[in-house]
Subunit: 344 residues, 2 copies
């Protein structure tokens, strides 16, 4: 009996790896990885995520391939989970060798998704936000909030985050977790207060019911909006009038038009694909006064980049264990004989 | 730190479970499970598998859900793998709770796919083959062959299998593995010899290049053909003229019309969905003379049934281990804090 062992990164190993490398370094590294893959965007197989919806949430598979490596992520989104003490979003992912179809990495992705989501946000802001931005409003202080704050510090030089959440306890948690990390945090009592003086406004809320986080009069000229929370049909965070005033940048239009803020607009409303800005094929911000909006849903190529980063970091280290996941008999035609011989 | 542990069935555990239960019993059980799910076919979310094709093979994700449980399988198909000593098909699968989106089972499925494929073939034959069939031709003696033989013995009462493969060594392996299991095996030198006297003809070949395993003059009236091997665009096993003479039964027409034998026919050529026969909504075989053809590609609901069967068998036993796959902080909004505390 021959076993084909797949390296597996558990939740515990992922946490230890991130702490070992340092969270801000991971953010900077992930931005470099994701940028590199966005630059070669046309090389990837792209398909909208495959979603299985229910009354209470969604389970999605997000596959992609660059022709050499195939990757996919399993991810759920269940807003009601939080009230039961469960994660709204959990995930795991896999890389496989296109040449053989054999898996080469299985990894937890609940933490990795939080990291890559924040890294992608900061990457977009690096290309779109006003130069020299130092203050960010962070509306929605749940599981993603601290990751966003540290990504923007590490990648964009943000020095102050102005925090607001419907639940002050979430804001307090965020202030506590960010203490001593070189960021000034300001707990605010309203969203209006949070956006005062902010060059960047990040919205990262999870509740389907709370549809309009930002109204039109709240957003001044020149601001960069990083809209992270909207990510399924019927779930949006921004009033439509803001969208009409903004230069809109997206990951993959066929997915974003269904799932995100721009589902409120005509299907042919102009949007720019972020990868084209990064590859030098499209303009980013066109003036200091323009409102830029990164209407983010999360795309498979970001997960692919993150998984490849992890694969490179864990190979041959104690940050992964080997999983007996693929049957691999000595004679490939003798699968049955392998089963029989397991008795011995 | 709280861990959310997912039961994992390794290759080794799957082999031991199958031997513990007995292969023929597993086949009979799986047919019962798959039949039960085919009877409630309309309840399932159905989508064609999501395929990522390359020059050398395909990687596919096959999701489905019955509204309570979600399942998907990762599976590759790489005909050239065998020459490198690798499996043509490897797979793993997952079940999750629709209510929370949390995974509840991760399992190897290379062996489980071999089992469920054979069980599905035998199930179809139980409904479509001539009553009292005792002899089956088995053309293609690779990794799936013995599973097919034993499924047809256990479920349909087959007593003799007539084996043929382009490579006599594959046939010899099959004869060896089936020795002492209550089946008469006859090694044949040609496909024509193999089908002599056979009421059921099973074709289960893997090579894309060998397109026509059965020609029209080889198939007499009344035979049931179990065509397992064709499973991607451009890969077929039967001459088109056989299809035109046969009553054709399929799993999920949108998938089968692209991937399997009937890709040779007009897109509106009549086919019957097997689940309708099992649910009493459509006729099966219409006469003793009819050629019936089960044009099988494998469908997500079969994997779902097989995974649920395994989940029920391994719960609380030594046939699974617990995998630290899902991050689950005490406070679901405090994912970041959980990472920080991993340092302790």
């Amino acid at each position: 009996m021959t076993l084909n062992l797949v390296p597996f990164v558990s939740v515990d190993s992922m946490m230890k790896l991130v702490l070992h490398l340092g969270i801000e370094r991971v953010m900077v590294d992930l931005v470099a990885e994701i940028e590199a893959d966005f630059r070669r965007w046309p090389m990837f197989d792209k398909t909208p995520r495959i979603a299985s919806h229910s009354d209470v949430g969604v389970i999605e598979l997000m596959p992609t391939s660059d022709g050499q490596t195939y990757g996919f992520k399993y991810v759920n989104g269940h807003p009601a989970n939080m009230k039961r003490g469960l994660q709204t979003v959990t995930a795991f992912g896999l890389l496989a060798d296109v040449e053989t179809g054999y898996p080469v990495l299985l990894s937890e992705m609940t933490i990795l998704t939080a990291l890559r989501t924040a890294a992608t946000s900061a990457m977009a802001a690096k290309w779109l936000a006003p130069k020299g931005s130092r203050v960010m409003a962070l509306i929605g202080n749940g599981a993603q909030a601290e990751f966003q704050a540290l990504a923007f510090k590490a990648v964009c030089g943000i020095q102050e985050v102005r925090l607001y959440d419907l639940d002050p306890a979430a804001t307090a948690k965020c202030v506590r977790n960010l203490a001593g990390r070189g960021l000034r945090t300001v707990a605010c009592r309203t969203a209006e207060e949070a956006i005062l003086g902010a060059e960047i406004v990040t919205t990262v809320t999870a509740d389907k019911a709370c549809a309009t986080i930002l109204t039109d009069n709240m957003v001044g000229s020149g601001v960069h909006i990083n809209a992270v929370g909207g990510d399924c049909p019927g779930k949006t965070e921004l009033h439509r009038d803001i969208l009409l005033r903004s230069g809109i940048f997206v990951e993959f239009p066929p997915q974003t038009r269904v799932e995100d803020e721009i589902q409120q607009l005509d299907p042919d409303h102009p949007v720019t694909e972020l990868w084209q800005v990064i590859a030098g094929q499209a303009a980013g911000r066109n003036s200091a006064e323009q409102i830029t909006l990164f209407d983010s849903v999360g795309f498979a190529i970001e997960d692919f980049a993150a998984l490849r980063y992890v694969a490179g970091k864990v190979k041959g280290t104690e940050f992964c264990e080997m999983l007996d996941m693929i049957a691999d008999p000595d004679d490939p035609r003798d699968l049955f004989g392998m089963v029989l011989r397991a008795a011995a």
